[in-house]
């Protein structure tokens, strides 16, 4: 089963430990990781996406693309609020994930048991990963030991959103790194801080 996984931590250091642990699970062949990134929400509510990219234009795209993905992960498809709406809200106002979650909560019960609404609170960090896993056990157990909270949404459900798929309005796959990484001093960490947040 292929899923998008968001693992939320109270600090960045733990998020990076989790990032490496996810890739370690891949190395142990317990899961297959297609891409990962680390996202932070600072104390003022703005999102930052770790990126090696130094191009300001792309930095904006990183923010918008990952913001849309966060929205899609937070707002599962349902009668009251579709995943596309969730993506739209996420993309339009990354800081509104809490609202997305509230709107989506009633429908979440009808979704796959792997779909979970979530919120990235101020000061928290999250690892976002695109993974293939035969069982949720390996990630859940490893992340529990690190103190993280794991949320999942089926890859197919996110890809069905009109915002994504092959002709995505907000492409983000390119911003999930296909290998384990550490940021170096020269690397640019873009801030996702829309005017409406």
């Amino acid at each position: 089963m292929r899923n998008y996984v968001a693992i939320v931590f109270d600090n960045t250091t733990k998020a990076y430990e989790a990032l490496h642990a996810i890739w370690q699970l891949d190395d142990e062949m317990q899961i297959t990781v297609h891409g990962t990134t680390v996202v932070h929400r600072n104390d003022w509510g703005s999102f930052q996406v770790d990126s090696k990219d130094t191009h300001p234009g792309l930095a904006t795209a990183v923010g918008v693309g990952i913001g849309a993905l966060l929205g899609a992960l937070a707002g599962p498809a349902g009668a009251a609020i579709g995943a596309a709406r969730g993506a739209a809200i996420g993309a339009a106002s990354g800081g509104a994930l809490g609202a997305v979650t509230d709107l989506g909560r009633a429908d979440t019960r009808d979704q796959s048991r792997f779909e979970t609404a979530w919120v990235l609170g101020r000061g928290q960090s999250a690892v976002i990963a695109d993974v293939s896993e035969d069982s949720v056990g390996p990630i859940d157990e490893r992340m529990r030991r690190l103190g993280g909270t794991v949320h999942r949404r089926a890859w197919s459900a996110v890809r069905d959103d009109k915002w994504f798929g092959d002709r995505a309005i907000y492409p983000y796959d390119g911003y999930l790194y296909p290998y384990d990484y550490d940021l170096y001093p020269y690397e640019y960490v873009p801030a996702y801080s829309p005017w409406w947040a």
Partner: protein, 129 residues
């Protein structure tokens, strides 16, 4: 550890494509001649990885083979755009670097999907096979 958990040619191809992506994304932070030297290396490496995958296709199952064939297409595009970048400058060079990164990322995606398909089919096989 079960004997299904042995890294093979597909895992090695994945590692090579990941390295390719790492090289080009690191190169994107450089300027001028340094970028071109890296692009030239990427172009050659993309061809080598594609040839390596081609050599292992015959022994792969349907889904794995499909993903690897798609990866080869992206690797060819990676090599082409990297080669274009070597011959260009200014905005054209920037565009070539962007396209090379996008193609390398797509190739990495397809190879990791091949790895996932292979691991899933291996874990689904009865023990002892």
């Amino acid at each position: 550890m079960p004997d299904t958990k042995v890294k093979d040619a597909v895992d090695k191809a994945r590692a090579a494509v990941q390295e390719l992506h790492r090289t080009i994304t690191d190169a994107a932070a450089k300027r001028g001649g340094a970028v071109k030297a890296d692009l030239e290396a990427v172009s050659q490496k993309a061809k080598a990885v594609s040839e390596s995958i081609k050599g292992s296709l015959a022994v792969q199952n349907g889904t794995t083979k499909k993903h690897l064939a798609e990866a080869m297409t992206y690797l060819e595009a990676t090599g082409k755009h990297a080669a274009d970048g070597v011959k260009s400058s200014g905005k054209e060079l920037q565009t070539a670097v962007r396209q090379t990164i996008a193609d390398a990322r797509a190739a990495a995606q397809k190879v990791s999907e091949a790895v996932a398909a292979k691991r899933t089919s291996a874990s689904a096989q009865p023990a002892g096979r």
